[in-house]
Each structure stands twice: as C-alpha cells, then as structure tokens.
C-alpha cells in the first residue's frame, strides 16, 4: 500500500498523429497522486482534463511517457479492476433495476448472486437509497441516478475512483449536497479520487490539491494545495480559506486566459 497511487511521467497525447486531424491534446504532463488523496483537474474546455482521466483509466494510450497506477501499468490496473469510474451522465442501464445496475461490475467479476445482492444492499444504504433497489432508473431523479452511478463505481470497493464531471448536469443545491456526500463516502473508504470539473467551488470544496490545466496543448499550469484539511463539512464553504483558495484557482485560470 506504500508508494503513490498514480504516477504520470512526462506524458504526451496526440490524437490522430500524422493525419490532417492531428490534435496535440497533452504535452509533458507530470503528476503524482498519493493514496487517499482527492485531486481535481480543472481547466477550460479542450484542455485535455478528460484525456488525463482516460489515460489513467487505460481507455486511451499515451503517445509518449508512462502512467503507473498502484505501481503497475495503467493497462494492468484496468485488467485488475483497480478503479471505478463515473461520468457526467449517470449511464445507468435502463433495462436493469437499480440494484442490478450496482451489481453489474460484480456480475462481470463473477461474484455469486448472494454476494452481489449483499453488496448492492450495502451500497444502496451507503448512498442512502436503500428503498430504491427494486426501482427502475427512470423512476429516480437525476441526483439519485448519479448516486447510484457512484454506488456502482464503488461497488467492488476499488482503491481509486475516476470521475468525469459527475455532478455537471445537476442543479446547484443537489450538487453541493452530492459533494458533501461523496467526500464522506470516499474518506470512509479511503478511496483515492481523481475528479474532473469545470467548477471552481466544487474543486475547492472537494480537493486536497487542484491541478489547473492550460489548453492546446494541455499542460499543467499550476497545482494548488487546498488548506481546508480532512473531514470537512458544508461549513467549509464559508471559511475564509475556502474563498482564498477559490480566488487562487480563479487567478490561475485567468492567467491562462480561461476565467472571466
């Protein structure tokens, strides 16, 4: 368990190299994430923050450089199911009841029915939707669906959670509520999180460190430490340190011509 959770070493990513559609998405990105750390990636559209996430997830391969996840290649980490993933759209399977959505990764891992059902019940309780297991996804609100997606991502208790703007489609109030919930969930489980967001306040509230990316090609512009400590609650949003840190992120984004 010692050693970093993620190491990204001078990674370049170019899409469609050598063709007219060539896009330099990332250039010499270096980043190390410690176990249990919550790191957000923020930056303007097209800065490659989702690409960083997909590289860690081994959904795309780097053009140059290397990525290690828990000391192995990103590819091996994917095959070992070392991470769970959540996207902006909850992406629940409409034909499966809520509990069976949470059980999907467990099914693919060959868990027994009894084990799967026990775990999905546990996860449903964890996201405080215990009574909704037998519902279909359409019967749930957007925020509830996203909680199920998070429960699904965490169902096999991976050490790493990769999230691509998971709350991007939610209204402000639901969003803040979900942020608090996510924070207590992952700190209970000790999960390492890499979180892509557009929102400065979201990045500030959630993260131990915020990585500001500049666009075309995407580079790490600055890494900002968030001095809010662990076990933070909604009150943290009103602390002076919260505003100071938000301002620092905003200044950083402004420096690369991204924030108003």
């Amino acid at each position: 368990m010692s050693g970093p959770a993620i190491v990204i070493r001078s990674v370049d990513k170019t899409f469609n190299p050598g063709t007219r559609g060539e896009v330099a998405a990332l250039e010499t990105v270096d980043l190390t994430v410690a176990p249990g750390e919550f790191v957000s990636l923020i930056g303007p559209s097209g800065c490659g923050k989702s690409t960083v996430l997909r590289l860690i997830a081994d959904l795309v391969a780097p053009t140059a450089g290397e990525i290690e996840v828990f000391g192995k290649s990103a590819h091996q980490a994917r095959l070992d199911r070392d991470y769970g993933m959540a996207f902006q759209s909850a992406g629940l399977f409409s034909w499966r009841k809520v509990a069976r959505n949470i059980e999907l990764p467990l099914e693919l891992m060959g868990w027994s029915k009894a084990d799967r059902e026990a775990r999905s019940a546990e996860m449903l309780a964890m996201v405080r939707l215990a009574e909704f297991g037998k519902h279909y996804p359409w019967q749930l609100s957007g925020g509830m669906q996203q909680r199920i997606a998070i429960a699904r991502a965490l169902s096999f208790k991976p050490r790493l959670l990769l999230m691509d703007e998971p709350f991007g489609a939610l209204d402000e109030m639901t969003r803040e509520h979900m942020q608090s919930e996510l924070l207590s969930l992952v700190s209970d489980l000790g999960t390492t999180v890499v979180f892509v967001t557009h929102s400065i306040s979201e990045a500030t509230f959630l993260s131990d460190r915020v990585v500001v990316l500049s666009p075309r090609p995407g580079r790490i512009h600055e890494i900002i430490d968030v001095p809010l400590g662990s076990g933070r609650t909604d009150d943290a949003r009103e602390e002076p340190a919260f505003f100071a840190c938000s301002t620092e992120i905003r200044e950083s984004l402004r420096a690369i011509g991204a924030a108003a």
């Binding site: 959904l59 994917r78 993933m85 034909w95 693919l108 990769l162």
Partner: protein
C-alpha cells in the same frame, strides 16, 4: 453511421407503445371501426356504382373497378362463402379449409422468421465485430433484396427437392430471404446504439467483447430489433405465400389463392375469403411479435405516458 448503410427500416422512437388494459379495449374498438368503415365503403361503392350504371355520370367512361357482383362480391357473400362446403359434396367448410391452409403456411412462415431472424442477428453481430466484413457484406445484403423473390423461389424449391430438405423448409428459406434483411440492418444500428460512456464503462470493468455484447449491446438493441421483428413477421407470411405460389407447393394459403384465382368466374367470394385469410394470418403474426415486444421491451423501462 446509420446513413452510410441505407435507411433504418423503422425509427425506434416512432414506435408507439400501447400496453395498458384501456389501450387494449381502445385498440379493439379501433379495429371494429376500421372494419365497419371498410365494409361501408365497399358496399357504398357497389350500391352507388350500380345505381349509376357502372360509368361516370354523363359519360361512357367506366368506373375504375366495376361494381358488379362478380368483380366485387357483397361482403356478406364473402362471409357466407366461409361457411359453405369448400367443394360440392364436401363436409369441410371453406373456413375450416382456410384455417388448415393458414396453419400450414404459418409453420413455413414461422420457420422462415426464425431462420431469417437468426441469420439477420448473426450478420449484424459479424458486421459489428469486423469493419472489414461490414464493408464486404453491406452491398451483398442490399443487392439480395433487389432480386425478385418470384424468380428465386422456384430455384430454391428445386434445390430443396434434390436434397433432404422438404418443400416446407424450402418455402421457409424463401420467407427467411425476406426476413433477415430488416433484422440485420436495424440490428446493427441497435447494437451500435450504446453511448461511448456506457461502452467505456464496460471497458473500465475489463469486460470482454462477448460480455459487452450480451450485457449492453443486445439489451440496448431491443428497441431497434423489435420493430424489425414485427416487419419480419409480416414479411415471413408474404414470403411463404409467394414461395408457395411460385414453387407450386400444395396445402397452404398460397396454393388456395392460386386455385381460387383460376376459378374466379365461378366463385369470386372464395378468392376474397382466401386473401382475407392471408391478411388475418399476417395480422396474427404481427400481433405475436407486438406482444413479445411489449413483454420484453416495455417492462418498466420508460416512463409510461
């Protein structure tokens, strides 16, 4: 990608969903109204046409269809013919005879539907799996539907007779030739319908291709497949009847239609009754496919309206 391979046969979203009990009663009422409208239109045309002497008023130009009883028998004569002996001196009524013929054709059509459905699904999966096969197969699949079935049917039946396959299987193959097409085309669109995020999710679980096919692509394809299945079901009846007629297979509705067309002048009602039987068989298989869709696709997936 859909527009690269010709039209999607039926838009999945346009597929109406009538599942409730109230819906059933309303459907039945609609059918009754539709039948009544047809009967009134038929008899009305006859009555008016005969009253004005079968020509456009004030001219000697014939009406498009002669309103006499030979060309357009009364609806009640057609209905009545169903309960008369199929032949002079026979114990069997025309209705019973047609029911047996419909059962015979139904077996061929059902077998054709199954073969065509499986072949269509298989092709869709192959084309999904291999872009090379996709490009290689699409022209052939499209060309296949431009060859007239009437020309192909006798060849298939002749081949069938030289092998262990009987006429029933031959006619089923003719029906399958029509049914595989919508299933392959719509099936491929359906299998490709899951979003990138859902496919990436399966990849993040290190799910093999086959598991992704079964757990994600097939369920997601159902709203596309079932409209194709409904079309294929009715096409299988058309294919079986055309197959029977062009290959001279006895015992089914196709043969009955051919026979009664030959003896039209002595009893036009029988031809109409046989055509009615074919239409009802088509409706029956369509209804079965529709029922299957309601059970397998509608189940709590979307918000009822």
């Amino acid at each position: 990608m859909a527009d690269q391979r010709g039209p999607v046969i039926i838009d999945a979203a346009a597929n109406s969903r009538l599942g409730s009990v109230g819906g059933w009663a309303r459907n039945l009422g609609l059918v009754a109204v539709a039948v009544a409208v047809m009967v009134v239109a038929w008899e009305g045309y006859k009555a008016i046409g005969q009253a004005i002497g079968g020509t456009w008023p004030g001219t000697s130009v014939d009406l498009p269809v002669s309103p006499d009883d030979l060309t357009m028998p009364h609806t009640w004569s057609i209905l009545g013919a169903l309960f008369e002996p199929v032949q002079r001196g026979s114990d069997e009524t025309l209705a019973v005879f047609l029911l047996k013929a419909a059962a015979f054709t139904f077996v061929e059509a059902g077998l054709g539907f199954l073969i065509g459905g499986l072949v269509g699904l298989g092709l869709a999966v192959l084309m999904l799996r291999s872009p090379l096969l996709d490009r290689a197969l699409v022209p052939w699949i499209n060309i296949s539907q431009t060859v007239p079935l009437i020309a192909l049917a006798p060849i298939i039946v002749t081949w069938g007779r030289t092998t262990f396959l009987g006429d029933t299987v031959s006619v089923a193959l003719i029906a399958a030739y029509l049914t595989f097409f919508p299933v392959a085309v719509n099936g491929l669109v359906g299998l490709k319908s899951p979003s990138t995020e859902k496919l990436e999710l399966m990849r993040s679980y290190a799910a093999p291709w086959s598991k992704t096919l079964i757990a994600l692509r097939f369920p997601a394809a159902r709203p596309y497949l079932f409209p194709a299945f409904k079309l294929a079901a009715t096409l299988s009846v058309v294919g079986a009847i055309v197959g029977e007629i062009s290959a001279g297979v006895r015992g089914g509705l196709g043969r009955a239609i051919l026979d009664y067309a030959g003896r039209y002048t002595t009893g036009p009602e029988k031809l109409y009754a046989a055509v009615l039987g074919a239409a009802l068989l088509g409706l029956f298989v369509f209804g079965m496919a529709n029922l299957a869709e309601q059970r397998l696709v509608n189940e709590g997936e979307e918000q009822p309206r």
